[in-house]
Protein backbone atom coordinates (compact mmCIF):
# COMPACT_ATOMS: atom_id res chain seq x y z
CA UNK A 1 0.00 0.00 0.00
CA UNK A 2 2.76 2.40 0.90
CA UNK A 3 4.55 1.67 -2.35
CA UNK A 4 1.40 2.63 -4.26
CA UNK A 5 1.11 5.85 -2.30
CA UNK A 6 4.70 6.74 -3.04
CA UNK A 7 4.19 6.03 -6.74
CA UNK A 8 1.01 8.08 -6.78
CA UNK A 9 2.72 10.95 -5.02
CA UNK A 10 5.58 10.79 -7.47
CA UNK A 11 3.11 10.70 -10.35
CA UNK A 12 1.26 13.70 -8.94
CA UNK A 13 4.47 15.57 -8.39
CA UNK A 14 5.64 14.75 -11.86
CA UNK A 15 2.31 15.82 -13.36
CA UNK A 16 2.37 19.02 -11.35
CA UNK A 17 5.87 19.86 -12.46
CA UNK A 18 4.99 18.98 -16.04
CA UNK A 19 1.86 21.17 -15.85
CA UNK A 20 3.82 24.07 -14.47
CA UNK A 21 6.45 23.64 -17.18
CA UNK A 22 3.83 23.52 -19.94
CA UNK A 23 1.67 26.27 -18.42
CA UNK A 24 4.53 28.74 -18.06
CA UNK A 25 4.21 30.64 -21.37
CA UNK A 26 7.28 31.42 -23.47
CA UNK A 27 7.64 35.22 -23.78
CA UNK A 28 5.40 36.54 -26.65
CA UNK A 29 7.41 37.14 -29.83
CA UNK A 30 8.10 40.76 -30.77
CA UNK A 31 9.53 42.43 -33.83
CA UNK A 32 10.61 45.96 -34.68
CA UNK A 33 10.15 48.16 -37.73
CA UNK A 34 12.24 51.32 -37.75
CA UNK A 35 10.97 54.38 -39.57
CA UNK A 36 13.67 56.70 -40.84
CA UNK A 37 14.28 58.89 -43.85
CA UNK A 38 10.72 58.31 -45.09
CA UNK A 39 11.31 54.53 -45.19
CA UNK A 40 10.01 51.54 -43.25
CA UNK A 41 12.87 49.16 -42.38
CA UNK A 42 12.54 46.34 -43.05
CA UNK A 43 10.10 46.91 -45.89
CA UNK A 44 8.96 43.28 -45.70
CA UNK A 45 8.83 41.80 -42.23
CA UNK A 46 7.87 38.16 -41.77
CA UNK A 47 6.60 37.12 -38.34
CA UNK A 48 4.82 34.18 -36.73
CA UNK A 49 1.19 34.50 -35.57
CA UNK A 50 0.96 36.08 -32.14
CA UNK A 51 3.89 38.44 -32.75
CA UNK A 52 3.64 42.02 -31.53
CA UNK A 53 5.18 44.33 -34.11
CA UNK A 54 6.36 47.73 -32.89
CA UNK A 55 7.04 50.65 -35.22
CA UNK A 56 9.53 53.18 -33.91
CA UNK A 57 9.65 56.58 -35.61
CA UNK A 58 13.25 57.76 -35.74
CA UNK A 59 12.57 60.28 -38.48
CA UNK A 60 12.45 64.04 -37.91
CA UNK A 61 8.91 64.17 -39.27
CA UNK A 62 5.70 62.49 -38.03
CA UNK A 63 4.50 59.29 -39.71
CA UNK A 64 1.51 56.98 -39.40
CA UNK A 65 0.94 53.30 -40.13
CA UNK A 66 -2.31 52.41 -41.91
CA UNK A 67 -3.26 48.98 -43.25
CA UNK A 68 -4.49 48.93 -46.85
CA UNK A 69 -7.39 46.76 -45.67
CA UNK A 70 -8.01 49.12 -42.74
CA UNK A 71 -7.31 46.37 -40.21
CA UNK A 72 -5.04 48.67 -38.24
CA UNK A 73 -4.30 52.39 -38.07
CA UNK A 74 -1.91 54.16 -35.73
CA UNK A 75 -2.15 57.65 -34.30
CA UNK A 76 0.41 60.03 -35.72
CA UNK A 77 3.83 59.13 -34.31
CA UNK A 78 6.09 62.09 -33.79
CA UNK A 79 9.86 61.57 -33.52
CA UNK A 80 10.68 58.83 -30.95
CA UNK A 81 7.05 57.75 -30.62
CA UNK A 82 5.96 54.15 -31.18
CA UNK A 83 2.96 52.11 -32.19
CA UNK A 84 2.41 48.39 -31.62
CA UNK A 85 0.09 45.85 -33.17
CA UNK A 86 -0.23 42.13 -32.38
CA UNK A 87 -0.79 39.98 -35.47
CA UNK A 88 -2.70 36.76 -34.78
CA UNK A 89 -4.11 35.81 -38.20
CA UNK A 90 -1.76 34.58 -40.93
CA UNK A 91 -1.75 36.66 -44.08
CA UNK A 92 -0.02 39.57 -45.84
CA UNK A 93 -0.73 43.01 -44.46
CA UNK A 94 0.18 45.82 -46.87
CA UNK A 95 0.40 49.16 -45.14
CA UNK A 96 1.49 52.74 -45.80
CA UNK A 97 1.97 56.11 -44.11
CA UNK A 98 -1.17 58.23 -44.49
CA UNK A 99 0.93 61.42 -44.36
CA UNK A 100 3.29 60.22 -47.06
CA UNK A 101 1.43 57.54 -49.03
CA UNK A 102 4.41 56.82 -51.25
CA UNK A 103 5.89 55.11 -48.14
CA UNK A 104 4.69 51.51 -48.36
CA UNK A 105 5.69 48.22 -46.73
CA UNK A 106 4.21 44.92 -45.57
CA UNK A 107 3.99 42.50 -42.69
CA UNK A 108 3.80 38.81 -43.63
CA UNK A 109 2.31 36.65 -40.89
CA UNK A 110 2.88 32.95 -41.27
CA UNK A 111 3.32 29.96 -39.05
CA UNK A 112 6.98 28.91 -38.75
Amino acid sequence: MQQMLHRRAALCAFTAVAAIALGAAAPAPTALVKIGNFTFAPQVLTVSPGTTVTWDNEDDTPHTVVANDKSFRSKAMDTDERYSMTFTKPGTYDYFCSLHPHMTAKIVVKAP
Binding site: F38, T61, P62, A76, S98, L99, P101, H102
Partner: protein
Protein backbone atom coordinates in the same frame (compact mmCIF):
# COMPACT_ATOMS: atom_id res chain seq x y z
CA UNK B 1 -22.01 122.12 -90.74
CA UNK B 2 -20.49 119.05 -89.01
CA UNK B 3 -16.84 118.54 -89.51
CA UNK B 4 -15.84 115.22 -90.96
CA UNK B 5 -12.29 114.21 -90.04
CA UNK B 6 -10.15 113.61 -93.08
CA UNK B 7 -9.15 110.05 -93.90
CA UNK B 8 -5.60 111.01 -92.98
CA UNK B 9 -6.73 112.27 -89.59
CA UNK B 10 -8.63 109.01 -88.92
CA UNK B 11 -5.56 106.97 -89.71
CA UNK B 12 -3.44 109.17 -87.40
CA UNK B 13 -5.86 108.59 -84.54
CA UNK B 14 -5.90 104.84 -85.17
CA UNK B 15 -2.13 104.79 -85.14
CA UNK B 16 -2.07 106.55 -81.80
CA UNK B 17 -4.62 104.11 -80.31
CA UNK B 18 -2.40 101.17 -81.31
CA UNK B 19 0.56 102.46 -79.33
CA UNK B 20 -1.33 103.92 -76.38
CA UNK B 21 -1.30 102.16 -73.05
CA UNK B 22 -3.84 102.26 -70.29
CA UNK B 23 -2.31 102.14 -66.85
CA UNK B 24 -4.44 100.97 -64.00
CA UNK B 25 -3.71 100.61 -60.35
CA UNK B 26 -5.18 97.77 -58.39
CA UNK B 27 -4.06 97.13 -54.84
CA UNK B 28 -0.99 99.27 -55.31
CA UNK B 29 0.32 97.29 -58.27
CA UNK B 30 0.54 98.90 -61.69
CA UNK B 31 -0.52 96.96 -64.70
CA UNK B 32 -0.99 97.93 -68.29
CA UNK B 33 -2.97 96.92 -71.32
CA UNK B 34 -2.84 98.43 -74.77
CA UNK B 35 -5.39 101.13 -75.48
CA UNK B 36 -7.00 99.50 -78.48
CA UNK B 37 -7.44 96.32 -76.46
CA UNK B 38 -8.95 98.27 -73.57
CA UNK B 39 -11.34 100.03 -75.89
CA UNK B 40 -12.28 96.76 -77.58
CA UNK B 41 -12.73 94.79 -74.35
CA UNK B 42 -16.27 94.36 -73.10
CA UNK B 43 -16.96 96.12 -69.83
CA UNK B 44 -15.20 93.93 -67.28
CA UNK B 45 -17.20 92.27 -64.52
CA UNK B 46 -14.01 92.19 -62.44
CA UNK B 47 -13.17 94.90 -59.95
CA UNK B 48 -9.44 95.01 -59.10
CA UNK B 49 -8.46 93.63 -55.68
CA UNK B 50 -5.66 91.81 -53.93
CA UNK B 51 -5.74 88.72 -51.76
CA UNK B 52 -3.09 86.64 -50.04
CA UNK B 53 -1.97 83.03 -49.94
CA UNK B 54 -0.27 81.61 -46.85
CA UNK B 55 0.53 77.95 -46.55
CA UNK B 56 2.01 75.17 -44.44
CA UNK B 57 2.13 76.99 -41.12
CA UNK B 58 2.64 73.57 -39.38
CA UNK B 59 1.78 75.02 -35.97
CA UNK B 60 3.37 72.63 -33.47
CA UNK B 61 6.54 72.08 -35.50
CA UNK B 62 9.61 72.77 -33.36
CA UNK B 63 12.63 71.06 -34.92
CA UNK B 64 15.59 71.91 -37.10
CA UNK B 65 15.51 74.34 -38.96
CA UNK B 66 12.70 76.16 -37.07
CA UNK B 67 12.47 75.88 -33.28
CA UNK B 68 9.17 77.77 -33.25
CA UNK B 69 6.73 77.62 -36.16
CA UNK B 70 4.27 79.75 -34.17
CA UNK B 71 6.80 82.59 -34.06
CA UNK B 72 7.45 82.60 -37.81
CA UNK B 73 3.71 82.44 -38.48
CA UNK B 74 3.28 85.48 -36.26
CA UNK B 75 5.97 87.25 -38.26
CA UNK B 76 4.12 86.46 -41.47
CA UNK B 77 0.91 87.90 -40.03
CA UNK B 78 2.76 91.02 -38.85
CA UNK B 79 3.96 91.49 -42.43
CA UNK B 80 0.37 91.19 -43.60
CA UNK B 81 -0.80 93.77 -41.09
CA UNK B 82 1.89 96.16 -42.31
CA UNK B 83 0.81 96.00 -45.97
CA UNK B 84 -0.06 99.47 -47.21
CA UNK B 85 -3.03 98.32 -49.28
CA UNK B 86 -5.39 96.11 -47.29
CA UNK B 87 -5.98 92.77 -49.08
CA UNK B 88 -9.51 91.43 -49.34
CA UNK B 89 -8.83 88.08 -47.60
CA UNK B 90 -6.35 85.28 -46.98
CA UNK B 91 -6.33 81.80 -48.50
CA UNK B 92 -4.58 79.18 -46.32
CA UNK B 93 -3.63 76.23 -48.52
CA UNK B 94 -3.30 73.74 -45.69
CA UNK B 95 -1.04 71.98 -43.17
CA UNK B 96 -2.33 74.55 -40.73
CA UNK B 97 -1.10 72.29 -37.91
CA UNK B 98 1.66 69.75 -37.45
CA UNK B 99 -0.37 67.03 -35.72
CA UNK B 100 -4.04 68.20 -35.83
CA UNK B 101 -4.00 68.91 -32.08
CA UNK B 102 -6.68 71.21 -30.69
CA UNK B 103 -4.06 73.54 -29.23
CA UNK B 104 -2.37 73.78 -32.62
CA UNK B 105 -5.60 74.68 -34.45
CA UNK B 106 -6.46 77.17 -31.67
CA UNK B 107 -3.09 78.87 -31.88
CA UNK B 108 -3.18 79.04 -35.68
CA UNK B 109 -6.60 80.70 -35.56
CA UNK B 110 -5.50 83.12 -32.88
CA UNK B 111 -2.40 84.17 -34.79
CA UNK B 112 -4.33 84.63 -38.06
CA UNK B 113 -6.97 86.69 -36.29
CA UNK B 114 -4.28 89.35 -35.78
CA UNK B 115 -4.35 90.00 -39.53
CA UNK B 116 -7.93 91.22 -39.25
CA UNK B 117 -8.93 89.64 -42.56
CA UNK B 118 -11.33 86.87 -43.54
CA UNK B 119 -9.53 83.54 -43.95
CA UNK B 120 -10.53 80.70 -46.28
CA UNK B 121 -8.96 77.33 -45.49
CA UNK B 122 -8.36 74.03 -47.19
CA UNK B 123 -6.75 71.19 -45.18
CA UNK B 124 -3.37 69.55 -45.59
CA UNK B 125 -2.64 65.92 -44.68
CA UNK B 126 -1.22 67.12 -41.34
CA UNK B 127 -4.71 68.43 -40.56
CA UNK B 128 -6.22 64.93 -40.94
CA UNK B 129 -4.45 63.29 -37.97
CA UNK B 130 -7.19 63.47 -35.35
CA UNK B 131 -9.18 60.40 -34.22
CA UNK B 132 -11.85 61.21 -36.80
CA UNK B 133 -9.29 61.63 -39.63
CA UNK B 134 -10.46 65.12 -40.53
CA UNK B 135 -13.45 65.57 -38.22
CA UNK B 136 -11.53 68.11 -36.13
CA UNK B 137 -10.76 70.20 -39.23
CA UNK B 138 -14.40 70.09 -40.38
CA UNK B 139 -15.69 71.00 -36.92
CA UNK B 140 -13.71 74.23 -37.19
CA UNK B 141 -13.78 75.12 -40.86
CA UNK B 142 -16.46 72.90 -42.40
CA UNK B 143 -19.33 75.39 -42.24
CA UNK B 144 -20.72 75.92 -45.72
CA UNK B 145 -18.58 73.19 -47.23
CA UNK B 146 -19.47 69.80 -48.67
CA UNK B 147 -17.97 66.33 -48.39
CA UNK B 148 -14.42 66.51 -47.03
CA UNK B 149 -14.58 70.33 -46.92
CA UNK B 150 -14.79 71.57 -50.51
CA UNK B 151 -16.58 74.79 -51.47
CA UNK B 152 -16.58 77.80 -53.76
CA UNK B 153 -17.27 81.52 -53.46
CA UNK B 154 -17.16 84.63 -55.58
CA UNK B 155 -15.36 87.88 -54.99
CA UNK B 156 -15.00 90.86 -57.27
CA UNK B 157 -16.12 88.86 -60.28
CA UNK B 158 -13.60 86.05 -59.65
CA UNK B 159 -14.76 82.52 -58.82
CA UNK B 160 -12.75 80.82 -56.05
CA UNK B 161 -12.82 77.03 -55.61
CA UNK B 162 -11.41 75.34 -52.50
CA UNK B 163 -10.70 71.63 -53.07
CA UNK B 164 -9.63 68.89 -50.65
CA UNK B 165 -7.11 66.39 -51.99
CA UNK B 166 -5.68 65.01 -48.73
CA UNK B 167 -8.39 62.76 -47.35
CA UNK B 168 -8.50 58.95 -47.69
CA UNK B 169 -5.15 58.78 -49.42
CA UNK B 170 -4.28 55.31 -50.67
CA UNK B 171 -1.01 53.46 -50.21
CA UNK B 172 1.38 54.18 -53.06
CA UNK B 173 -0.81 57.05 -54.21
CA UNK B 174 -0.55 60.82 -54.24
CA UNK B 175 -3.14 63.52 -53.58
CA UNK B 176 -6.67 62.46 -54.49
CA UNK B 177 -9.87 64.37 -55.21
CA UNK B 178 -12.37 61.51 -55.49
CA UNK B 179 -15.32 61.23 -57.85
CA UNK B 180 -17.83 62.91 -55.52
CA UNK B 181 -15.74 66.07 -55.46
CA UNK B 182 -15.15 66.03 -59.22
CA UNK B 183 -18.90 65.61 -59.78
CA UNK B 184 -19.53 68.59 -57.52
CA UNK B 185 -16.92 70.63 -59.42
CA UNK B 186 -18.62 69.78 -62.72
CA UNK B 187 -21.90 71.21 -61.41
CA UNK B 188 -20.19 74.17 -59.76
CA UNK B 189 -18.51 75.31 -63.00
CA UNK B 190 -21.39 74.50 -65.34
CA UNK B 191 -23.01 77.53 -66.90
CA UNK B 192 -20.29 79.96 -65.83
CA UNK B 193 -19.02 82.22 -68.58
CA UNK B 194 -15.53 81.24 -69.77
CA UNK B 195 -14.43 84.82 -69.22
CA UNK B 196 -14.91 84.41 -65.46
CA UNK B 197 -11.45 84.26 -63.86
CA UNK B 198 -11.13 81.13 -61.75
CA UNK B 199 -8.83 80.58 -58.78
CA UNK B 200 -8.55 77.00 -57.50
CA UNK B 201 -6.82 76.44 -54.19
CA UNK B 202 -5.94 73.07 -52.68
CA UNK B 203 -3.08 71.63 -50.65
CA UNK B 204 -1.22 69.10 -52.75
CA UNK B 205 -0.07 70.28 -56.20
CA UNK B 206 -2.57 69.61 -58.98
CA UNK B 207 0.20 68.75 -61.45
CA UNK B 208 2.80 66.06 -60.93
CA UNK B 209 5.78 67.89 -59.52
CA UNK B 210 7.56 64.72 -58.38
CA UNK B 211 5.76 61.36 -58.23
CA UNK B 212 8.44 59.59 -56.15
CA UNK B 213 7.64 61.90 -53.26
CA UNK B 214 3.88 61.86 -53.85
CA UNK B 215 3.95 65.47 -55.07
CA UNK B 216 0.91 65.38 -57.33
CA UNK B 217 -2.80 64.58 -57.48
CA UNK B 218 -3.55 61.27 -59.13
CA UNK B 219 -7.02 62.22 -60.42
CA UNK B 220 -6.54 65.89 -61.25
CA UNK B 221 -6.83 65.32 -65.03
CA UNK B 222 -10.62 65.30 -64.94
CA UNK B 223 -10.74 68.48 -62.85
CA UNK B 224 -8.27 70.26 -65.12
CA UNK B 225 -10.34 69.18 -68.11
CA UNK B 226 -13.30 71.06 -66.64
CA UNK B 227 -11.17 74.17 -66.20
CA UNK B 228 -9.64 74.25 -69.66
CA UNK B 229 -12.41 76.26 -71.29
CA UNK B 230 -11.92 79.25 -68.98
CA UNK B 231 -9.78 82.16 -70.14
CA UNK B 232 -7.94 82.66 -66.86
CA UNK B 233 -7.34 79.89 -64.35
CA UNK B 234 -4.92 80.14 -61.44
CA UNK B 235 -4.21 77.04 -59.35
CA UNK B 236 -2.66 77.75 -55.96
CA UNK B 237 -1.11 74.91 -53.97
CA UNK B 238 1.11 74.34 -50.96
CA UNK B 239 2.54 71.07 -49.57
CA UNK B 240 6.04 71.28 -51.07
CA UNK B 241 7.25 74.35 -49.16
CA UNK B 242 8.81 76.07 -52.17
CA UNK B 243 7.73 78.17 -55.10
CA UNK B 244 7.38 76.30 -58.38
CA UNK B 245 5.19 77.16 -61.32
CA UNK B 246 3.88 75.71 -64.52
CA UNK B 247 1.67 77.08 -67.27
CA UNK B 248 -0.62 74.92 -69.42
CA UNK B 249 -2.61 77.01 -71.88
CA UNK B 250 -4.67 79.37 -69.75
CA UNK B 251 -4.00 77.47 -66.51
CA UNK B 252 -1.18 78.81 -64.34
CA UNK B 253 -0.09 76.62 -61.40
CA UNK B 254 1.80 78.12 -58.47
CA UNK B 255 3.03 76.33 -55.37
CA UNK B 256 3.89 78.40 -52.31
CA UNK B 257 6.47 78.75 -49.58
CA UNK B 258 5.73 77.60 -46.06
CA UNK B 259 5.82 79.88 -43.05
CA UNK B 260 7.43 77.04 -41.01
CA UNK B 261 10.28 75.33 -42.88
CA UNK B 262 11.58 74.74 -46.41
CA UNK B 263 11.77 71.41 -48.22
CA UNK B 264 14.32 70.21 -50.76
CA UNK B 265 13.83 70.70 -54.48
CA UNK B 266 12.44 67.59 -56.20
CA UNK B 267 14.95 64.76 -56.10
CA UNK B 268 17.64 66.93 -54.50
CA UNK B 269 17.60 64.96 -51.24
CA UNK B 270 16.93 61.36 -50.25
CA UNK B 271 13.53 62.33 -48.85
CA UNK B 272 11.16 65.32 -48.76
CA UNK B 273 11.64 66.07 -45.05
CA UNK B 274 12.43 69.49 -43.58
CA UNK B 275 15.44 71.08 -45.27
CA UNK B 276 17.91 72.20 -42.65
CA UNK B 277 19.22 75.70 -43.28
CA UNK B 278 21.30 77.96 -41.02
CA UNK B 279 19.24 80.13 -38.65
CA UNK B 280 20.24 83.28 -40.53
CA UNK B 281 18.95 81.80 -43.78
CA UNK B 282 15.57 80.60 -42.50
CA UNK B 283 13.54 83.74 -43.13
CA UNK B 284 14.77 83.90 -46.72
CA UNK B 285 13.01 80.65 -47.51
CA UNK B 286 9.71 81.24 -45.71
CA UNK B 287 7.14 83.62 -47.11
CA UNK B 288 3.72 84.97 -47.98
CA UNK B 289 2.22 85.55 -51.45
CA UNK B 290 0.21 88.54 -52.63
CA UNK B 291 -2.04 88.11 -55.65
CA UNK B 292 -3.56 90.93 -57.62
CA UNK B 293 -6.54 90.67 -59.90
CA UNK B 294 -6.81 93.47 -62.44
CA UNK B 295 -8.77 93.01 -65.65
CA UNK B 296 -10.61 89.73 -66.04
CA UNK B 297 -8.72 88.46 -69.05
CA UNK B 298 -5.29 89.18 -67.62
CA UNK B 299 -3.45 86.57 -65.58
CA UNK B 300 -3.18 87.40 -61.90
CA UNK B 301 -0.04 89.18 -60.78
CA UNK B 302 1.83 87.32 -58.05
CA UNK B 303 4.40 88.69 -55.64
CA UNK B 304 6.18 86.19 -53.39
CA UNK B 305 7.70 87.98 -50.40
CA UNK B 306 10.11 86.18 -48.11
CA UNK B 307 9.74 86.79 -44.37
CA UNK B 308 13.23 88.31 -44.41
CA UNK B 309 12.18 91.10 -46.77
Amino acid sequence: MTEHPSRRRILECMGWAGTGLVWSVGGGVLSSVSLDRAMAAPKSAVTPFTFLQVSDSHIGFAKDPNPDARATFREAVAKIKAMPAKPAFILHTGDITQLSKDQEFDDADQILKEAGLPVFHVPGEHDMLDEGTGAAYLARYGKGTLGDGWYSFDHGGVHFVGLVNVRELQGGGMGHLGQAQIDWLTKDLAGRSSSTPIVVFTHIPMWTVYADWGWGTDDSAQALGLLRRFGSVTVLNGHIHQVLQKVEGHIAFHTARSTAFPQPAPGQASSPGPLKVPAGELRNVLGVRTLTVTLGSQPLTLVDAALAV
